[in-house]
């Protein structure tokens, strides 16, 4: 106890005053300190979530726009000109606009939605609640982390409204294209703003990650040993470690890019002619940027995926009324994923002229990830197996996550082989693979988390019927969109191309592309329905009347229905057991706070 409580007085003192106020629901906080510059981890989590939702609508809308182009390349949509003016003259998406849309779709969804919106939301909400702390180790840093993210968002949004448009060199911003303003209009001021926004974003992630790690390690309540932590907290812990160690490397790569762009240095540039003019740059290496970028870029995949994995583990266990299968194996596999995440970045670079011997090492390390991934899948399935499953929307999204993770993970085995990758790289196969395994799967984890912890966030439930419609349309839609894209990729259809109609051999896919576009519009509409459900339920949802609506064992459900700043009104509860005592000794569940009985069986 010494350690956990050792530091409690500090946080306790700073919030002690508020704390007593919460008892009598008599806040002296103003609107600004409560909702805007709040240092309460729960409010900050909601801020991340709502900002993430806004970003997801923007990023999703962009994909609908370029899907229109891909599905109907020969048609015009006058409404586009109404909204986007010169970028869609005559209702036809201009090539520059198309590239800007693709770039922003990737950047926004990877970083602003699935990193900040996902781990930002749930790390903030769940870590203090599930480890039994009144707030984060440093609430101030936590608040700053949100506001750095907000500033990053403002800069990124602003870049979309400048005359030359936002960055358009792909979300990976490879030089030399991204380093030379003369090369494309998407590499002019928009690119500088992209770098500035990402630098602010990295600062936000580092502030957040430091806080998550020190909260988990230092602020656990009495009795909460590391192996009694729910898997959500473990997943968020590994996520934070990955971010702390990989984002600075991205930052260093971007700083060098900024120098190349604005001061004429040659970190990435060498022997380049533009418009017949030779540039003075010499000795630079564009591959260097790829190394620095993917050293973040690959761990980033797991920064996105691990929180979803953790939440799905929790949601599946709670809703199948069974302990999680293989808790220690889950921990071990997350640890293995965390280590391997740093050792596989070059599999994004098999065709850049990478030494084939080096390539084979990276193939081996890449395929090794299949082992912990398979362990996790096995454990999720065995957790569900013969469970007394409650098919809540959260549980459905959790099961959907497992399905998508299997489908998307299997295609990763194809791409992880450097020889097969020669055929598949830069085709739609890659697009299909990472959208299923990291994009849609992580979204499913996020939806599971939102439906499951919405009662804790707002003291109300989301609408179930809309939730079921949301799940089924998204699930079927995701497969209808991305499954066929695998076939396109296998047939050699390149990604990133504006219009493939000049190739006769791709004409067989015209109708398929139309179908994919129509389905994406439907799925996007259903996501808007989810957003409606979310905001409507905040104000009008069915009220939560019991402290522990899901019958869960973890600590967040021992707080009041609408917890104030400080979370628990009395003392922080003590923990006596692990987080997964479901269906034990004839009892449906035993909360973590209940002491181990004298006659209790050993699982």
């Amino acid at each position: 106890m010494s350690d956990a409580l050792h530091i409690q007085p500090e946080v306790g003192t700073s919030h002690g005053a508020h704390h007593d106020e919460h008892h009598v629901h008599h806040h002296k906080e103003t609107f600004i300190t409560k909702y805007i510059f709040s240092q309460d981890h729960k409010t900050i989590g909601k801020q991340f979530l709502i900002t993430g939702i806004i970003w997801a609508i923007i990023g999703g809308l962009f994909s609908v726009l370029f899907r229109l182009q891909l599905g109907f390349p020969d048609q015009t949509f006058p409404i586009l000109e109404t909204f986007f003016g010169k970028w869609a003259e005559g209702g036809r998406i201009k090539p520059e606009f198309y590239y800007a849309l693709v770039t922003m779709h990737g950047t926004v969804l990877v970083f602003f939605v699935l990193t900040a919106g996902l781990s930002g939301t749930f790390a903030n909400l769940l870590i203090p609640l599930q480890v039994g702390a009144r707030d984060m180790a440093s609430p101030l840093m936590n608040m700053l982390s949100y506001w750095f993210f907000f500033m990053a968002s403002v800069v990124m949004i602003a870049s979309m409204f400048i005359q030359t448009g936002p960055a358009a060199g792909g979300w990976t911003v490879y030089p030399p294209l991204s380093a030379l303003g003369e090369a494309s209009i998407g590499s002019k001021a928009g690119m500088d703003m992209w770098i500035i926004a990402m630098a602010l974003f990295v600062v936000s992630q580092l502030l957040a990650g430091l806080n998550y790690v020190s909260t988990i390690l230092n602020m656990r309540t009495k009795g909460m040993s590391m192996t009694r932590l729910p898997l959500t907290v473990w997943a968020l812990f590994f996520t934070a470690v990955l971010g702390i160690l990989s984002f600075p490397v991205l930052l260093s790569g971007l700083i060098l890019l900024l120098f190349d762009r604005n001061l004429g240095t040659s970190f990435y540039l060498s022997d380049i002619y533009i418009g017949g003019q030779a540039l003075p740059n010499e000795g630079g290496s564009a591959i260097l940027f790829q190394h620095l970028f993917w050293f973040l870029g690959h761990p980033e995949v797991y920064i996105i995926l691990l929180p979803a994995m953790g939440m799905v583990s929790e949601v599946l266990s709670v809703n199948s009324r069974k302990p999680i299968f293989g808790y220690m194996a889950m921990l071990g596999s997350m640890f293995a994923i965390c280590i391997l995440a740093f050792l596989v970045w070059a599999h994004h670079m098999f065709v850049t002229g990478l030494n084939p011997f080096l390539g084979s090492v990276f193939v081996l390390l890449t395929l090794l990830i299949a082992v912990p991934s398979a362990i996790k899948v096995f454990n999720w399935l065995t957790t569900l197996w013969r469970g007394n499953i409650r098919f809540t929307p959260a549980a459905l999204f959790g099961i959907g996550f497992v399905s998508l993770f299997i489908s998307g993970g299997l295609t990763g085995i194809f791409l992880g082989n450097s020889t097969i990758d020669i055929h598949l790289h830069d085709t739609m196969f890659v697009v299909a693979h990472f959208h299923i395994v990291m994009g849609v799967a992580s979204f499913f984890g996020m939806f599971a988390g939102v439906y499951h912890w919405f009662p804790k966030m707002y003291g109300r439930y989301m609408n179930n019927t809309l939730g079921y419609i949301h799940f089924w349309v998204t699930m079927i839609g995701a497969y209808l969109i991305f499954w066929p894209i695998h076939y396109q990729g296998l047939a050699g259809m390149p990604r990133r191309y504006l219009d493939k109609s000049v190739w006769v051999n791709f004409s067989q896919f015209h109708e398929l592309d139309k179908m994919i576009t129509v389905v994406s519009i439907i799925v996007f509409a259903v996501q808007l329905m989810f957003v409606f459900n979310f905001f409507y339920s905040i104000f009008k949802g069915r009220k939560v009347t019991t402290q522990n609506p899901w019958g869960a064992t973890t600590l967040e459900w021992t707080t009041p229905i609408n917890p104030g700043h400080g979370n628990w009104t009395g003392e922080i509860p003590e923990v006596h057991r692990w987080a997964y005592d479901y269906g034990k000794d004839g009892r449906e569940f035993i909360p973590q706070t209940e002491p181990v009985g004298a006659n209790e069986s050993k699982h």
């Binding site: 020190s214 160690l245 120098f259 240095t265 190394h291």
Partner: protein, 198 residues
């Protein structure tokens, strides 16, 4: 199976198990790991690039040796300030903090002079790559970290003079000192790196 079955049977709660570190100190160490990753990224980029054609080496201006002496001295005064604080000799603590800030400022100025000299020796941004371009970026980023430390020091210094509440916990001072020693050691690493590889 056995291992996970026993999880809830741990009788010992989350005990200190010897780890008595204050969370702020711990956070700082994690932050240091993070900063190190950035410089590791930059110096490994340097190594990769130094094997490519068109690489130009650079001779380090002597002024960087003076700045080394200055930052090492500032580390010593910082440590003395921590000791003075622990012994509650506040007069001395304020003086030593002030000296540390001034030495930090001196370091940054000396770095600037070093850059100036390099610039005079025709090490420029534009054109072929080389150690010089990296030197500006890496030393520049290091200097920014020193300036960040100076800002924190000035705030602490101001608190020691004008703070309404008397500070007894040595933790903020110790956190500050750890960071300050870190930028010092980081500088030594960068210097040795440039001497050997550059």
């Amino acid at each position: 199976m056995v291992s996970e079955l026993n999880i809830s049977e741990h009788k010992t709660p989350a005990k200190g198990n010897g780890r008595k570190m204050h969370p702020h100190k711990f956070t700082l160490w994690v932050a240091i790991a993070s900063i190190l990753m950035m410089f590791a990224g930059l110096t490994s980029a340097f190594i990769v690039k130094s094997n490519l054609v068109g690489w130009r080496t650079v001779t380090m201006p002597d002024v960087f040796w003076i700045s080394t002496a200055v930052i090492v001295a500032s580390s010593i005064t910082m440590q003395m300030a921590v000791r003075a604080f622990r012994q509650r000799v506040m007069q001395q603590y304020r003086l030593l903090t002030a000296i540390t800030v001034l030495l930090g400022l001196g370091f940054v100025v000396l770095q600037y002079m070093g850059f100036h000299e390099l610039w005079k020796n025709n090490i420029r941004f534009i054109g072929a790559s080389g150690a010089g371009q990296f030197l500006y970026v890496i030393f520049g980023l290091h200097a920014i970290h020193v300036i960040g430390g100076m800002v924190a020091l000035v705030i602490m210094f101001g608190r020691a003079f004008f703070g309404r509440v008397k500070q007894y916990s040595p933790v903020p001072v110790e956190v500050m000192a750890t960071y300050w020693h870190f930028v010092d050691i980081l500088w030594l690493y960068l210097l040795v790196f440039f001497l050997i590889v550059g």
